[in-house]
């Protein structure tokens, strides 16, 4: 025990006699008053003020962009003294930012920034910074041994199966590049050709995983530029690196350039679970989001599973302005959430039943004839006829002999939006029942709005008709609208109230408001998108808006703003050039080496292929289930199929930390990966579990220009750092370019360096200019003009959207252009073969495969036009794959009698995992102040030494539920999920890794949460083997890893201990027709971040059990909970205060 003598003052009898020297007392009473007319002018000395002025003195400033994945991209000014950034504040210049045509931005976007940006320098200078490249000792030994195949023995010898307990060593940059380049060559050789195929199959990979392998070992290499829009050069540049591997493939396999196959591009938006996966089903676009400023135009704002009070900090004022401008606000959340406190009314909903609620509302709107018939007929698929036999839309070719599709070559679909003749043929034309002629009439996908009016049709919305098919037989057809009347019979108010827990009268009120107040908008977020059946909930948000015409207008629509995904801002077209693709997929065999090349003339050729990270997360395999009826069946569409993962390189993302089911990845999946590279600015768990760590410059240190934009504001922004790198770190763009050049050295192929010529020369702005030139939204802007401030603010311009604020589908409604769906209309119905097979042709409510008290994954419907395939899987089979793919349809009165066996075993808590106010996903999680603010247990002194650091991650629990479990406010608890596979498959009590992986955290009583719902903020820094060892052995108990300096947010486990990866069949269609994300064109099936698996961390049920007492050092009750001032333990005074009884105003007599 350390004990300093300085802490004590000797005051024994002997010492007490030694008097110190006393100062002379001031004789204040002797002063006479002095008359001073101007105190500021006459004050004898103001030198003291200098102290305060000096505190804010600076030598220089520079602008930078705070660019985490929060969707805001705030312009900040850093203030520098003696080369050190002292502080940052917002630039206040939004009102000056303009566009090519002289439009200026509203100054109301000011102020920008939040406490994250204001404290970024604390991260940059902080203790967790990466300072130089690192390499795992075992991995280097493996490399030095010649990169041998990972046999079970080699996995252990070189600690591929124990990365968490290995040691990191510093390596020079050139050494790191050389080792990596040689590893790429070794892996490419090992897994190419017939020998490679044999190896992969022998290692147990499913044969389907070779679909996109194509004989190339490079296809086992996965690259992720983390939320690339946050830094299009350095982050999305990762995909350019993947394309560089075409040279490697050519060298290894000796194929022609056009036959080379390069790496696979891991997704971002979908991987985060941020996408609203139903969007492409409804309107054909990856995601539709307005600018935040559009909230000003809204008159009815429906807030579903979103939190625009606690989150979206720089822009949450737009929500508050809704109120100031008189909009009515309704909030749908399971808990009494921060926005619920601001709402006119709140709808407390059972988690994941939002689709049922919205279907109930739609039924009210239809039953009460409150729908906008004109809008429905002009812009939606509700008038289109559907065959009652096949459940497919009636095609004109079904009933009109020798039907020749109408020539629409000059229409918008083909002329503007890039529909190809082949796609046009494949889609065909659709039919409506024309009441004027009392017969079926064809429609093309261009026949919307005024073009539909011009056709002179009067389509029936109700009725059933018989049509004669080409073979002479007759089939019943119905307008979709009429079928919805049948479908919605299952969603009457009383039933929906039972399903959702929302009172019937409140549902009625919401339906009335949506039907009568216009414009109305629905804002959703991760709250909905993180459920297995998010697709249905997303589709359902559009149904009432389609019925009421609230699409494509100011203040209307359905939006998410979850994740900054809009690569489409850099949209390519035949008029402008390849756009985004010109940067990430410039043809490596024909790169433009002239800096003056117009971006339009850049030749793009992607040798890469997208891949959803979710398959790695699913055990590095697709969704394959042995079914009783069809035997082994792969539910992953061919276009989606993953390849085996042998190399994994990510930048700017905490991939492993934020992986759902991360301990499964660490334990069972990653030991099969031969090289994991993490590029980051801080030591994260993802770095700890890597083989090579590249240390990157921060936004304030970058030496080359970077560019970013946002899904929620109109700014394109370019910047570079204003201080020299503090450590031996490099720009992420430079790291990519230098790694590519080193690969070229190893391959003796100078084309690798040529491909990165301008980045290697420090002239990345050449690529930025090309990006501007070749994007539909930016052509005309010049890099130099932007940086000189020509458009009002240095480094910023307005993106050339059709409207400010950006209004999705404005053109569709006002210019009568088709939507991006197969029908060209907003779709309430999907007739892809898989969709019909899965019973989701109609928008329908399904219970989740795990997070439900009822039969997992049941379709709640009695609609005869939903005919799902169960594959013969019995109801009682509860394997995870079986639960995911089994499609059973039951009406609610039957569903409510069923029971989820997991629920029966006591797993009776839904676990909400929303964003934190004080972090951006995992960024800033352990930054000192943020960590202290982030929870109720923040303590800079760490009085309770059990705390992993300056704070504790927290589980919010309903007080009564906690008490029923014997849990006091502030206790530590275990949170466990399905023991079948969590925290990882094959866990055992005696496995030391189980101790690392089991979640333990603090409980906070929170009466705003209903009984069966707990909440834990997402993406804290996970416990790792090193952090647990540190916590258990360090004298101070901190979870601060030895050797790496990694700081965990937990003592044991993490949020990801209770999550797992799910492979939703509806996210894996080959036949979904939709818009390509970053060019004017269409595709069927998979595209990364567009149509693919959207991860769903909320799909879990948990059990909560007490672990330790919450009192100091584990004794008694956590002290604040005994004060009488905490929720559910209020003393008499507090109760009086809450009842408003502490202040009484007497009326004047």
């Amino acid at each position: 025990m350390a004990f300093s003598r300085r802490d004590f003052l000797r005051v024994t009898g002997a010492a007490a006699g030694a008097a110190g020297v006393l100062g002379t007392p001031l004789r204040l009473w002797g002063l006479e008053p002095v008359a001073i007319e101007n105190p500021l002018g006459a004050y004898p000395s103001r030198d003291w003020e200098k102290v305060y002025r000096d505190a804010y003195r600076y030598d220089s400033t520079f602008n930078w962009i705070c660019s985490p994945n929060c969707t805001h991209e705030c312009r900040m000014t850093a203030f520098v003294r003696n080369g050190i950034v002292l502080r940052s504040e917002q630039t206040y210049d939004c009102g000056r930012v303009g566009d090519l045509y002289g439009n200026k931005c509203t100054p109301n976007w000011n102020p920008r920034g939040c406490s994250n940006g204001f404290t970024f320098q604390r991260r940059m200078y902080g203790p967790y910074r990466l300072r130089y490249p690192l390499m795992r000792k075992g991995w280097r030994a493996w490399a030095d041994a010649g990169y041998p195949e990972l046999t079970p023995e080699n996995k252990t010898r070189y600690k591929f199966d124990a990365r968490g307990s290995d040691e990191f060593i510093r390596v020079p940059w050139d050494d790191a590049y050389t080792y990596v380049a040689k590893a790429l060559v070794a892996v490419a050789k090992r897994y190419s050709g017939e020998e490679g195929k044999k190896r992969l199959l022998a290692q147990g990979y499913a044969p389907e995983m070779l679909e996109h392998w194509g004989g190339a070992g490079t296809r086992t290499m996965k690259f992720r530029g983390g939320m690339g829009l946050l830094g299009v050069m350095g982050k999305y540049g990762m995909y350019r690196f993947a394309n560089t591997l075409a040279f490697l493939d050519q060298k290894v396999r000796g194929v022609k350039p056009e036959e080379t196959l390069a790496g696979r591009l891991f997704s971002n938006y979908t991987w985060h679970g941020d996408q609203a996966p139903g969007h492409p089903f409804v309107h054909g676009v990856q995601g539709a989001d307005c600018d935040f400023s559009d909230l000003r135009f809204t008159k009815f704002h429906l807030h579903m599973g979103k939190n625009l009070v606690e989150n979206k900090r720089p822009d949450s004022h737009w929500f508050i302005e809704c109120m100031e401008r008189g909009a009515k606000i309704a909030v749908v959340t399971p808990e009494y959430s921060p926005p619920a406190t601001k709402a006119d009314y709140w709808l407390p909903i059972r988690p994941a039943t939002d689709a049922a609620l919205l279907l109930g509302i739609s039924r009210v709107i239809i039953d009460e004839n409150r729908y906008d018939e004109t809008f429905v007929k002009r812009f939606t698929d509700l008038p289109l006829l559907v065959r009652t036999d096949t459940l497919k839309r009636l095609s004109a070719a079904d009933v009109i002999p020798n039907y020749a599709p109408k020539d629409i070559a000059d229409g918008a679909s083909m002329k503007i939006f890039g529909l190809t003749p082949e796609q046009r043929t494949q889609l065909g034309d659709y039919m409506v029942w024309d009441r004027k002629t009392n017969g079926p009439k064809p429609l093309t996908r261009d026949d919307v709005g005024e073009k539909f009016d011009a056709a002179g049709l009067d389509p029936a919305l109700d009725g059933a008709f018989s049509v004669k098919l080409l073979d002479g037989s007759y089939v019943d057809v119905m307008p979709l609208f009429a079928m919805y009347r049948i479908h919605l019979k299952d969603y009457d108010l009383a039933t929906v109230s039972e399903m959702t827990g929302v009172p019937a009268e409140t549902i009625q009120r919401l339906a009335t408001d949506l039907a009568t107040i216009k414009p109305a908008a629905i804002h959703i977020g991760e709250g909905i998108n993180h459920w297995f059946h998010a697709t249905e909930m997303n589709r359902a948000t559009y149904l009432p808006l389609m019925l009421t015409g609230n699409i494509g207008i100011r203040g209307g629509g359905s939006y998410t703003w979850a994740g900054n995904y809009k690569a489409g801002i850099f949209q390519g077209s035949k008029e402008t050039g390849p756009g985004f693709k010109g940067w990430i997929a410039e043809d490596p065999f024909a790169p433009s080496l002239d800096p003056a090349t117009d971006g339009k003339d850049v030749h793009a050729h992607a040798h890469t292929y997208d891949e959803e990270v979710a398959y790695w997360n699913y055990g590095d395999k697709p969704l394959i289930v042995d079914t009783p009826k069809f035997g082994r069946k792969c539910f992953t569409g061919k276009t989606h199929l993953p390849t085996p993962t042998k190399v994994l390189w990510y930048t700017n993302v905490n991939l492993i930390n934020n992986a759902k089911w991360c301990y499964e990845m660490i334990k069972n999946v990653n030991p099969n990966i031969e090289m994991i590279i993490s590029t980051d600015i801080e030591m994260t768990a993802s770095c700890e579990y890597s083989d090579v760590v590249f240390a990157a410059n921060t936004w304030m240190e970058s030496k080359q220009y970077e560019v970013t934009a946002s899904c929620s504001n109109p700014f394109l922004q370019i910047w570079k750092g204003g201080i020299d790198p503090i450590y031996d770190t490099r720009d992420d763009l430079t790291i990519l370019a230098e790694q590519a050049a080193k690969l070229g050295e190893v391959l003796e192929d100078s084309r690798c360096a040529d491909y990165w010529k301008f980045a290697l020369e420090g002239k990345g702005e050449v690529y930025i200019q090309r990006l501007l030139d070749s994007s539909t939204t930016l052509r005309g802007y010049k890099f130099d003009d932007i940086m000189s401030g020509k458009y009002g603010a240095q480094g910023a311009v307005l993106i050339l959207f059709r409207t400010y604020p950006r209004i999705p589908f404005w053109e569709q409604i006002h210019d009568s252009l088709p939507f991006f769906t197969a029908t060209g209309r907003l779709q309430a119905y999907n007739d892809e073969p898989e969709t019909i097979e899965y019973g989701e042709n109609f928008i329908v409510h399904r219970e989740g495969p795990e997070a439900t008290p009822y039969l997992p994954n049941v379709i709640v419907s009695s609609n005869p036009f939903i005919r799902p395939e169960s594959y013969g899987i019995p109801e009682e089979h509860m394997g995870e794959g079986e639960r995911q793919v089994r499609n059973l349809r039951k009406p609610w009165h039957e569903v409510k009698l069923t029971e989820n066996p997991l629920w029966k075993k006591g797993y009776q808590f839904y676990c909400m995992t929303p964003k934190s106010r004080h972090s951006t996903h995992s960024s800033w999680q352990v930054t000192d102040w943020q960590w202290i603010w982030n929870n109720q247990f923040g303590d800079p002194y760490r009085t309770d030494k059990r705390s992993p650091g300056l704070g504790e991650h927290t589980l919010h629990v309903n007080p009564q539920a906690a008490r029923d479990l014997g849990i006091n406010d502030g206790d530590y608890v275990y949170v466990d999920a399905n023991p079948a596979d969590r925290p990882y498959v094959g866990w055992k009590p005696n496995d030391p890794f189980y101790k690392v992986a089991r979640l333990m955290l603090r409980v906070k009583y929170n009466p705003s949460y209903p009984y069966n719902i707990v909440m834990m903020k997402h993406a804290p820094f996970i416990a790792t083997e090193r952090s647990v060892k540190a916590h258990e052995t360090r004298a101070d108990g901190r979870a601060l890893s030895e050797n790496t300096g990694y700081q965990a947010s937990f003592r044991y486990g993490s949020q990801q201990s209770i999550t797992r990866d799910w492979a939703m069949p509806m996210h894996q269609l080959d036949t979904l027709f939709h818009k390509a994300k970053a060019k004017t064109g269409f595709l069927f099936g998979f595209e990364g971040d567009n149509h693919g698996i959207n991860t769903v961390p909320k799909e879990t049920l948990v059990k909560v059990t007490k672990a330790e007492n919450g009192g100091l050092e584990g004794r008694g009750v956590w002290a604040p909970a005994t004060t009488g001032y905490t929720p559910a333990a209020e003393n008499e005074f507090m109760q009086k205060y809450l009842a408003g009884g502490t202040v009484q105003v007497k009326k004047p007599s």
Binding site: M1, A2, F3, R5, D7, F8, L9, R10, V11, T12, A16, A19, G20, V21, L22, G23, P25, L26, K905, R946, G966, Y974, D976, P979, A980, W987, K988, P989, N990, Y994, K995, R998, M1000, H1031, E1032, A1035, G1037, R1051, T1105, K1106, A1107, E1108, N1109, L1112, E1113, G1114, R1115
Partner: protein, 306 residues
């Protein structure tokens, strides 16, 4: 050899302030006014060591003037041997009852003992003497070569088990200390039932007769060594032996005890007895485990599935 009695200024400040508050509440403001007047010039002094010393001097003067030191000196008078073994005794402020304890400090020269005391021990009804008796007896144990004290940081292998182990460690030493004080007629009223209650709480899984034997063994028996106390705190086998129970006696698990399989402290134990199927499954991974040792709910679920 003499022992210096020293006071931490924070302790003095807290005790004097508390005593003056009580006096003022009883209508006596004289001492408060006297101190206030004495501190008036001290407040005008520039911040620094001299000012701090002056504050401390005045508070010590008041401390003595109020007769608060008498209780300290009276308590120390019962331990003349302490002055022979210790050079400095430093009284510090405790903020909770649990913090009230004595430690031997590593000192540059001489031997120092720090005693943390709640201020109301001197000003309120709680009284100081009983605390001094227990804590100073403990200090004498600690300084006795035959006790063979070995400084130890953590007692348990895992932080999760630390609290329980430390509570047990404290229990056995307290039993011995208070038992000896009781035998010498200096025990505190109610100490025996209190200690017995604590033993019952920490060893609820043992049968009543075993707990009684344990209690008697350490309340009335010879003083254990430090090593024995540590062993008792950490090892169930040592407790079973001391309680006269067979070494394979399986206790019903206690809330907060580590699960014998996963070693996580558990409040949620599986219902006993486990089915034969579960027992067979557990034994495959844990051949040494016996069903009567129990298992936590989470481990039960795992083996219940298999």
């Amino acid at each position: 050899m003499t022992m210096n009695l020293e006071y931490d200024p924070g302790f003095l400040d807290a005790v004097v302030t508390d005593a003056l508050r009580r006096a003022e509440a009883a209508g006596d403001r004289a001492a408060a006014a006297d101190l206030q007047s004495a501190l008036e010039p001290v407040y005008r002094m520039p911040a620094g060591g001299a000012r701090d010393q002056a504050f401390a001097r005045e508070q010590l003067r008041t401390f003595r003037q109020l007769g608060l030191e008498r209780a300290v000196l009276a308590g120390l008078a019962e331990f003349p041997e302490l002055a022979r073994r210790v050079d400095r005794l430093i009284l510090c402020r405790a903020t909770t009852r649990r913090e009230e304890e004595a430690d031997v400090l590593p000192a540059e020269k001489g031997r120092a003992v720090r005693l943390r005391v709640l201020p109301d021990r001197l000003t309120g009804p709680a009284g100081l003497v009983a605390l001094l008796r227990v804590e100073l007896t403990r200090i004498l144990d600690l300084l006795d070569p035959e006790f063979a004290f070995v400084p130890c940081g953590r007692l348990a292998d895992r932080p999760a088990e630390e609290n329980l182990t430390r509570d047990r460690y404290r229990l056995f030493w307290t039993l011995s200390v208070e038992g000896r004080l009781a035998a010498a007629g200096r025990g505190e009223a109610g100490a025996a039932p209190r200690a017995r209650t604590e033993l019952d709480r920490l060893y609820a899984s043992l049968p009543e007769e075993g707990r009684e034997r344990l209690f008697l063994r350490y309340w009335t028996g010879p003083r254990p060594t430090h090593a024995e106390i540590r062993r008792l705190a950490r090892e169930t086998a040592a407790v079973l032996a001391a309680a006269g129970l067979p070494h394979d006696y399986s206790a019903h698990p206690t809330s907060g005890m580590p699960c014998p399989l996963c070693r996580f402290p558990a409040f949620d134990w599986a219902p006993a007895p486990a089915s034969a199927r579960v027992v067979r499954a557990v034994l495959q991974d844990f051949p040494e485990w016996t069903a009567t040792a129990g298992l936590c709910g989470r481990c039960f679920e795992l083996y219940d599935r298999s």
